[in-house]
Symmetry: C2
Subunit: 298 residues, 2 copies
């Protein structure tokens, strides 16, 4: 069975009852709520859903109905940038589903949101209609307050819906993307400049690996610094290659890797590929993993 | 839900109908037949089942009833050593189940086989009652033909059942063990002596790692030799440690690792631990694997 993850971000992180009603709206047949977490200073909540395409479409439309009835961005202020009451809705392929199918789902759901709620919809990341809309930060730039002006520009005609902001709900940014892997490497040094230099070397924006975002940060109370990274496509820029590159760059400063950590969830494939790499495995298939075989047989 | 693997070996590998009836007897509620393969020269078939404890007990007893009715070891000759019509029945913990539970299941099923069919039962590996019965080869030594004599010796009183061989079915060896990982490392050399020396260095029997069986073999038609290994407990002797040791030993002869391969199935844990090791991951848990989280939530 196809398993798709969907992680709607809504612009409400303070009123627990309101968030609970939004989460409840996501509980439809074929969808499981994996997690919901609110951040009061961001004034934002992140809901993690898994399910099939039909279930997720129903869940997201239900969520929009609830959120649009209760969230008014005209009186919303938080630390996190946002353009819509339902701000971002990414669909993420997990198992038995292709990226192309998630892109199709994003288009279908985006069109339905625009149609049912008269909210302009932008498609982003793998679902983007043009290269300039791939990056979420570019689409969201100007935020809710700048949306009316943004929509007057020809390059920001929405992918679906009216060419005017919804008065209280703003716009909605819908897309498809690979699962993120939050991967941090701690270095056995207190030299923050080394972590920053390595971050600069490995990240895409300054010339490094295509699907790496990175920054060097101090670790309070520890004799270590961190290269903190997001890997935005672990199939094309694999974890082991990032690890090896950071280790090699650190050696150039006489610094060793102390340890690494994965924050939150990681797709099994990212770690299986890592084992496959370091063991120099040949002819290996995920169907050789006992649990996968058991699951496909039962 | 607990998932246990059970791999009965029966002494029939030539009569396809008879094997099919034995396999059919294993298809009970709660049990899935993953695989069945027969070897005519061995005159033996290996049936791979997965299921829960109650289902597997019923499947194995049904298999015994069918096999004991149709297999007569007095007229059985094959290349593979055997002591029983149903020769070996190992239970293997896969998911959500401990080794102790598999040992208890082996004892329960062994007692039931002895009771219902008047077949002497020996317990082996993790289910062994004494150290001298841990190793399957030691328990089976003497085979069917030597069984009557073996049973007269005080150290070979069966764990369950009569102290006499069943006339046509012999004895049955029941136990619990970890999943095997068949792991081969190919070396970029044609020097068979190097593969043999490394096998000697890493295997338990000649002073190496506790849960490694190994031999050095030539690879016909390839400019490579192989260290062919069985890892009998990948939790205690992990794949990455075996790989590193073989690589280090090979370097001592100026030889590089060309590639490795896993033959057949491997538990996910063996590869996750490998990724964890080489990435120097800290604080990592299998619950961070997205697919595991999805599965436990749905």
């Amino acid at each position: 069975m196809a398993i798709i993850e969907c992680v709607p971000n809504i612009s409400e992180g303070r009123d627990a009852d309101r968030v609970a009603r939004c989460v409840a709206a996501c509980r439809v047949h074929g969808v499981t709520v994996l997690n919901a977490s609110s951040d009061a200073s961001h004034h934002r909540s992140v809901i993690t859903l898994i399910g099939d395409a039909a279930g997720l479409k129903e869940a997201v439309l239900g969520l929009c109905a609830e959120a649009y009835a209760s969230i008014d961005l005209r009186s919303h202020q938080g630390e996190h940038p946002r353009m819509g009451a339902v701000d971002v809705v990414p669909f993420i392929p997990i198992d038995g589903v292709t990226m192309a199918e998630c892109v199709a789902l994003a288009r279908d759901v985006g069109a339905a949101i625009a149609d049912r709620f008269e909210v302009p919809v932008f498609l982003y990341e793998d679902a983007a209609s043009v290269a300039a809309r791939k990056n979420l930060e570019d689409v969201r730039r100007g935020e809710f307050e700048g949306l009316a002006d943004k929509l007057t520009r020809d390059e920001w005609v929405p992918d679906f819906g009216p060419r005017r902001a919804h008065p209280s709900a703003g716009a909605c940014i819908v897309g498809a993307r690979m699962p993120l892997v939050a991967f941090n490497i701690n270095l056995a040094t207190t030299r923050l400049d080394v972590a920053k230099k390595i971050a600069t070397a490995v990240r895409f924006s300054s010339g490094g690996l295509r699907f790496v975002k990175a920054m060097g940060i101090a670790l309070d109370g520890r004799d270590a610094v961190q290269v903190s990274m997001n890997l935005t496509n672990y199939e094309k820029t694999p974890v082991f290659r990032v690890f090896d590159m950071v280790q090699r760059e650190a050696a150039r400063y006489g610094v060793s890797v102390l340890e690494s950590e994965i924050v939150g969830l990681v797709p099994a494939g990212a770690l299986l590929a890592t084992a496959e790499h370091y063991l120099q495995l040949t002819g290996f298939s995920a169907q050789q993993v006992l649990e996968n075989k058991v699951r496909s047989a039962t």
